[in-house]
Amino acid sequence: MKRVYVDEKWCLGCHLCEYYCAFANSGKSSMIKALKDRTIHPRIRIEGDNQVSFAVSCRHCTDPLCVKSCIAGALSKKDGVVCIDQNKCVGCHTCVLVCPYGALMPSESGVMQKCELCIENAGGKPACVQGCPNKAIIFEERD
């Protein structure tokens, strides 16, 4: 299955992935409409400084601790993608407690959000991958 992989060697720390992510999940038709004068809530986050940086988003683990731990049964794995049913989530943060990557975080509404590989929005390649100017985020199959 294709997943998002990150190569910190090429990450520039420009944070554009965060903006493309926030835009892709906004449901708005333009980035300006979606993000102007707003605090963004991306599902991918850049860690690091000017020298070393890298993007972190859900790894879609083969054996996801978050799915096993979700007290509401809101997290599940569909065709390899760890998905969240925000309608079921109550924002208890148990997924935050167990995710070794720190890849789940509260959305604006307080229930949790996570990378779902853009399967629910435009589709094709995840927006972060398309928006990365230096191929530091790659969407492909690996062993």
Partner: protein
Amino acid sequence: MAKYVIIGNSTAAIGCVEGIRSKDKDGEIVLIASENHHTYARPLISYLLQGKTDEERMKYRPDSFYEENHVTAKLGETVTKLDSEKKTVTLKSGEEISYEKLLVATGSTPFVPPMEGLDTVPEKFTFMSLDDAHALESVLTKDSRVLIIGAGLIGLKCAEGIKERVKSITVVDLADRVLPSILDETGSAIVKDFLEKQGIEFHLGDTAAKFAGTTATLKSGLTVDFDVLVIAVGVRPNTSLVKDAGGEVRRGIAADDTGKTTLPDVYAAGDCAESFDISAGVNRVLALLPNAYMQGNTAGINMAGGKASFDRAIPMNAIGFMGLHIITAGTYDGETYVRRDGENYKILFYKDDVLKGYILIGDVARAGIYTALIRNRTPLSSIDFKLICEKPQLMAFTARTRRDLLSKQQ
């Protein structure tokens, strides 16, 4: 004869079904549970009262779950007897069901200590099940004064759940601080202050000595008038089936890391069973949802002939009250790193080059990175300790480890 029999219908039981089905697509599964409900997320009962979820949404698995997994669910039926030699269980109705492999996932029961005059209280409840929640809800009004005995996870979660629906909430606990099982003294004080600001009244280090109708007299002499009483002093693992059948029971049912009890072909998982806490190095009942699932799931895989072991159990909790989030894990033992900034509080416990436990209040972002350090027993000398103290971050790992984490399939 059913291949698999599961007693229970909550997290551990569902984990077991999914564990079995990951190895055995067809073997017959019979699931028996006293509660007559589709499997539901038990910890969500407080959110239900709060209006953050409803019965439909709090279903732990979709309606089609039993059918899709070929499970014969006998809901509303109670197992009264386990015969591990005959390999049968007996239902209250007298029906006998034999099994090849059995999972006991009977959970726990709220403990109601003997208290003088308790029988004179007109409205008294425990807070453990969906039925408990409905019963409590049915008597609550805007004018209700609620007295909660117990300032632990259940008591405070209940308080949060009903806070906006009642006139007042008073919490009494014998312990001198809130959430003593998961917080240190500083943490307890922060949470108590916060809850007091939200309008909850506490009488700690005190206990209800006597009830007379809707008045409680505390040990300190104080009297509290109330309309509704909730008793949340603790739970007791439901171990009698195994115990009566001759299986070893300590605080909970003794189970090894595959979920096996001392009875042949009988497994146990969830709040009724013990597991090995690697952070403290002892067997204990870890009555936590993630552990219940993982233990049940492990048992299921093993029952179906697979190989799995649940060998990384630690106590861990994520809980929030009215917007204040608390995440804790592990054992509070060793040297500490402490940082406090208003309601944000962090304490890390480390010893022998590993992180043993932590408490985060307020800013809990990415806490799982800490949890993984405990679960994986990552040598602290192999990471940048200063960075990891500052905040949970992958930056604290070596570039090589990060490459493994972020550019390989996980």
